[in-house]
């Protein structure tokens, strides 16, 4: 049930292109936010106000209805891998124990997508590329997809009441164009392509980093055995997922839905039973 093998076919696409996705290699992200800007420009995403969060160089904060790429900026008291400047007694004081991590977050386009599972109107659908997209002419803004997402990606736009998130540039990839964020990324931190190829490439890059001494380097959401069946957009991280604001072990909520319905049915039975019991017996 949780195979990534053919997510589009499971959604009813008989003939379809290979599953497409993003591999975000955060080890080469420079935090330029070109992806955030390119996404907004191409998709006509409204601004979300001028807000200085006062936490870091990140003043975007999180993904939202109006932010479909979000660059996290993390400052840590840790060495950035094992490389040295080559200068003995560099005049850096204790500053050699500082590293900056940057990472461009995006909708994960999960194999088992909570938002898609719970959508009661069919507005959210699985495309032929295996991605998850909201049809804006269908969405009635019920808001159920929002708490269903284990990553806090999708959100309701206040100005029109509908749910919005990354479409993986459905309009561009249908024309063999690279999604805007990947196109704009100057360091190829954001890579777009067939998911199988990206996974292979990511594994190679991980091996390289581990060999270079990045002990905490890890792939995130590339494993089809994880709680969302693997994702169409996965990441190479240099620290634990939660340091980037990502859940360490996300599980799609609908995984338990059968058991939930069984319990609800049992409770419904008790409800009916107590109702009957109350009316049986002596009158006064």
């Amino acid at each position: 049930m949780t195979t990534t093998s053919d997510v589009a076919a499971r959604a009813g696409w008989d003939e379809h292109p290979p599953r497409m996705g993003f591999f975000t290699d955060t080890s080469v992200c420079i935090g330029c936010k070109a992806c955030e800007v390119a996404c907004k420009e191409w998709n006509g995403v409204p601004d979300d106000g001028y807000d200085l969060l006062g936490l870091s160089y990140d003043n975007t904060g999180s993904l939202s209805a109006n932010t479909w790429r979000h660059v996290a900026f993390i400052e840590q008291s840790k060495p950035f891998g094992p490389q040295t400047t080559g200068i003995d007694e560099a005049p850096t004081g204790d500053r050699d124990e500082v590293r900056w991590l940057m990472s461009s977050d995006v909708c994960k386009h999960c194999t088992e997508a909570g938002c898609l599972d719970v959508c009661p109107t069919g507005a959210l659908f699985r495309t032929e590329f295996g991605t998850v997209v909201v049809q804006q002419d269908i969405c009635n803004g019920c808001g159920y997809c929002i708490p269903a997402c284990p990553f806090g990606v999708i959100d309701r736009r206040e100005s029109d009441g509908k749910a919005w998130k990354c479409t993986l540039c459905y309009d561009r990839i249908g024309e063999d164009q690279t999604p805007a964020c990947a196109k704009a990324c100057p360091t190829e931190s954001i890579q777009y392509g067939p998911l199988d190829e990206l996974r292979e490439r990511a594994q190679g890059r991980l091996d390289q980093l581990v060999e270079a001494g990045h002990a905490d380097a890890q792939l995130y959401l590339e494993d089809s055995a994880d709680g969302v069946g693997g994702a169409g957009a996965f990441f190479l991280l240099l620290d634990k997922p939660e340091a980037y604001g990502l859940p360490p072990d996300p599980v799609v909520p609908t995984r338990d839905v059968r058991a939930m319905w069984r319990h609800a049915a049992a409770a419904a039975g008790v409800f009916a039973g107590l109702g009957v019991a109350a009316f049986v017996g002596r009158r006064r």
């Binding site: 969060l53 870091s56 993390i74 840590q76 840790k78 060495p79 991590l101 599972d117 959508c119 009661p120 109107t121 069919g122 507005a123 269908i138 969405c139 009635n140 803004g141 019920c142 808001g143 929002i146 708490p147 269903a148 997402c149 990553f151 806090g152 990606v153 959100d155 009441g161 509908k162 749910a163 002990a215 634990k240 939660e242 340091a243 980037y244 604001g245 859940p247 360490p248 072990d249 996300p250 909520p253 609908t254 338990d256 839905v257 058991a259 939930m260 319905w261 319990h263 609800a264 049992a266 409770a267 419904a268 409800f271 009916a272 107590l274 109702g275 009957v276 019991a277 109350a278 009316f279």
Partner: protein
């Protein structure tokens, strides 16, 4: 190098003990959580549902369902006054429910888009169809109690359909009362999701005790014996199941005990207990006691639903409720199968 909890900027954070509320000698059940996060920002999104609309709907939907059962029971056992108030309560509560649900939509004019599909993975879709099936018979049974408002040419038909419609409404009612628990649990909201085994029983009990309370307050004492019983049975179910949530959930039980949700929950329990005991002891003889205990149970049912709604929202606001249980789950998994 990296300590187990070394983290992002603002990264190493200790879990708060809940805002330093006075806890009257209660021991902290859960050790302080240590975890890393991204500047302490929430990971999952807070539900956009309004508390008044959706918390309120959880309550009124339960009242509509419980009242439907009481109405049918009263009809079949020859208690006309009780039947009258219960059928009308059910219809009124259903009307409020529908209005709240449509009002909460981002695009209310598209409420009928819910009827495009039927999806078992979407409790909201299942609920839409349950409510649709509930609406018509509940409407007819309610109309049968208000012949003055029914056009003359339909009066005979509505009168004849009153009983079968009331029974049909009562048959769908258990679904109306319990599906909402799956609606909340089938999300990534930590304190809702983790409570999935108990939540339907809390909702079933709360629907019964609340609707029994309403009927107890409105119907004459000589017909109210079944609802006094129902009040006690529903209260017992609700109290037992919600107690279990608070104890079983560990860290994720915290939001049910702290802050505004916690105070509502505690008040709800007191009112439920007081209402059920008073109803059982004095409800038969004293009209005043019946009204007071009924009002207490009705209010308690509302408080329970708002408390559960708020507890879930609170569990999305602090990333510890997402990170800590997931880290523990990962640790359990890796300690079982070392890779």
């Amino acid at each position: 190098m990296s300590g187990a909890h070394a983290a992002g900027p603002g990264g190493d954070r200790r879990g708060r003990s809940g805002g330093g509320r006075r806890r009257r000698g209660e021991q902290m059940m859960v050790p302080k959580a240590e975890f890393s996060s991204y500047y302490g920002r929430p990971i999952i999104k807070k539900p956009v549902w309004s508390e008044l609309d959706i918390g309120g709907y959880l309550f009124t939907g339960g009242i509509a369902a419980g009242s439907a059962v009481i109405g049918a029971g009263a009809d079949l056992t020859g208690r006309p006054e009780l039947r009258h108030v219960a059928r009308l309560s059910s219809l009124a509560a259903l009307g409020v429910s529908g209005a709240a649900l449509v009002h909460d939509l981002g695009v209310p004019a598209r409420f009928h888009h819910m009827l495009r599909v039927a999806k078992p993975t979407s409790p909201m879709s299942v609920g839409t169809w349950i409510l649709t099936a509930f609406g018509l018979p509940t409407g007819i049974a309610g109309a049968a109690e208000l012949p003055g408002l029914v056009p003359p040419f339909l009066r005979g038909l509505v009168g004849a359909l009153g009983r079968p419609a009331g029974i049909a409404s009562a048959l769908v009612a258990p679904g109306v009362a319990t599906y909402t628990a799956v609606l909340l649990a089938d999300t990534s909201v930590p304190s809702w999701h983790e409570a999935w085994p108990e939540l339907p029983f809390v909702f079933a009990g709360s629907a019964l005790s609340g609707s029994a309370g309403l009927a107890l307050a409105l119907a004459p004492c000589e017909e109210s014996k079944p609802v006094r019983r129902l009040a006690v049975l529903g209260a017992a179910l609700e109290l037992a199941a919600s107690q279990r949530i608070e104890h079983r959930l560990g860290l994720l039980g915290e939001p049910y005990k702290e802050g505004s949700a916690g105070s509502k929950m505690r008040l709800a329990k007191k009112l439920t207990l007081a209402g059920a005991v008073t109803a059982a002891a004095l409800g038969r003889r004293s009209r005043v006691a019946a009204v007071a205990s009924g009002a207490a149970l009705f209010a308690a049912s509302a408080l329970t639903r708002f408390a559960i709604f708020e507890a879930g929202v609170a569990s999305t606001e602090d990333p510890k409720y997402v990170v800590v249980p997931q880290r523990e789950r990962l640790q359990r998994r890796t300690s079982v199968t070392p890779s």
